[in-house]
C-alpha cells in the first residue's frame, strides 16, 4: 500500500503565490495531497487556492499565526490518518522537487523528522541575509547546547514528519515563531531529527513576516522559548 502523504501549506495573504505552489506540488507528484491552511487571509487566497480544485483548503475563522496554522495541518493529518506530512511554505520559497530528499530517510524509518537545510552543506540558491544567518548561527549553537544535536537551519519551515511526530505535534506545537522551538521540543522528547541539504528560492511575492524592529523581539522571544522548552519535563506520549 502506498503511504499517504500530506503537504501542509500555511498561507497568509498569498494570493499571488498560492496557485503556483499548489500546481508545482501536484506536478511534482500527483499522489501528494495538498492541504492549504488559510490563516485568516485578508486577500483572495481562499478563492485562489480553491479554484485549482487540487487542494483541500481550510479557512481559519481568524488569524492564528504560522504556528497555529501549521498545527491545524498536523491535526488534520492526524484525524485523516496520514503516514507522512510535509510542511511547505505558501510563498514559493520551497521547491516541490526537493520533497523526495526529505521523505527518503523517513520512509527508510531512520528518523522521525527531517529538516530541509540551506547550510548543512553549501547549496545553490537563496542563502538569506547576513543578519539572519547570524541569528541562525545562534540557534545552531543553542541546539548543540540544549539537545546535543547539530541542526544548522532551525528557522527552515521545510520539514517532513512521520506518523508519530504528527501525532505528537498535533497536540503540542508552539504558537508564535515555532520553528526553532520545535527543534528543541522534538529533541527533548527523543525524536530522531536530521537535516538534508536543500535549495531554496527567494520569496516570489508578499513580504516576510519578520523584519526591522520585530527581529529583536523575534530573537528574544525565540531564545526564551527554546530555553523554557529545554527545561520542561518530557511530555508523556499516549
Amino acid at each position: 500500500m502506498k503511504p499517504k502523504i500530506l503537504i501542509i501549506v500555511p498561507a497568509y495573504n498569498e494570493e499571488k503565490n498560492i496557485r503556483n505552489v499548489i500546481l508545482s506540488l501536484k506536478t511534482a507528484d500527483p499522489n501528494y495531497e495538498c492541504l492549504v491552511v488559510n490563516d485568516g487571509s485578508k486577500d483572495n487566497t481562499q478563492a485562489e487556492a480553491e479554484s485549482t480544485g487540487l487542494a483541500t483548503v481550510i479557512q481559519l475563522p481568524s488569524n492564528l499565526g504560522i504556528g497555529g496554522a501549521v498545527q491545524t495541518g498536523f491535526k488534520y493529518a492526524f484525524y485523516e490518518n496520514f503516514d507522512f506530512a510535509i510542511q511547505f511554505d505558501g510563498d514559493g520559497q520551497h521547491l516541490a522537487s526537493e520533497i523526495p530528499k526529505l521523505l527518503a530517510p523517513l520512509q527508510r524509518n531512520e528518523i522521525d523528522v527531517c529538516i530541509g537545510s540551506r547550510f548543512v552543506e553549501k547549496t545553490l540558491g537563496f542563502q538569506s541575509t547576513f543578519l539572519r544567518r547570524i541569528g541562525i548561527r545562534v540557534f545552531e549553537f543553542m541546539n548543540h547546547l540544549l539537545i546535543r544535536r547539530r541542526i544548522t537551519d532551525s528557522t527552515s519551515g521545510f520539514r517532513a514528519y512521520n506518523k508519530s511526530a504528527i501525532q505528537f505535534l498535533a497536540a503540542n506545537y508552539p504558537t508564535d515563531y515555532p520553528e526553532p522551538e520545535t527543534v528543541i521540543l522534538l529533541g527533548k522528547n527523543d525524536y530522531r531529527i536530521c537535516e538534508v541539504a536543500v535549495e531554496m528560492a527567494e520569496r516570489q511575492g508578499g513580504t516576510s513576516s519578520i523584519s526591522g524592529l520585530k527581529s529583536a523581539h523575534y530573537m528574544i522571544k525565540v531564545i526564551l522559548a527554546m530555553l523554557m522548552t529545554a527545561h520542561r519535563h518530557k511530555i508523556r506520549r499516549v
Binding site: V37, T56, V57, I58, Q59, L60, P61, S62, L64, G68, Q71, T72, K75, Y76, Y79, T175
Partner: protein
Amino acid sequence: MIESSLELLVSNRIQFFSVTSSLFLFAFILRLVKRKRLKEEYSLLWLGFGLIFIALAFYRPLLEVVANMLGIIYAPAALLLILVTSAFFILIQFSVVISKLAEGNKNLIQEVGILKAELKKIQQTIKDKENNEKPDV
C-alpha cells in the same frame, strides 16, 4: 485642646473613610459573584485582599505591626507595598487566565476550520451523488 480634638476628628474621618471603602469593595465583589458576573475562582484573590484591607482599616495599629515586621520605618509605605503587591498578584492572574483563554481559543479556531473543510467535502459528495442519480434529461 481644640487642636487635639480636631486631630482626632481628622484621623477618625480617614478611618471612617477607609473602613467604608474596604467594606464596599468586599461587598461589591461578593455581589458580582452572586450575580455571576465574576467567577468564584477569580474572585478569591480579590476577596482575600479585600479582607486584608478591612483588617487594616479597622485595627489601625496593625499597619505599624506589619511595617515593623517588614523593617519599614515609615508605616504608610507598608500600605503602599501591600497595595502594589495585591495589584501585582491580580494582574499576574489575569495574564495566566488570558494565556489559558488564548490556548482554548486557538484550539477552537483550528477545529472549526477543519470541520468546515470536512463539511464542504461531504456536501460536495452528496451533491455529486444526487447529480449522478438524476436521470439524464
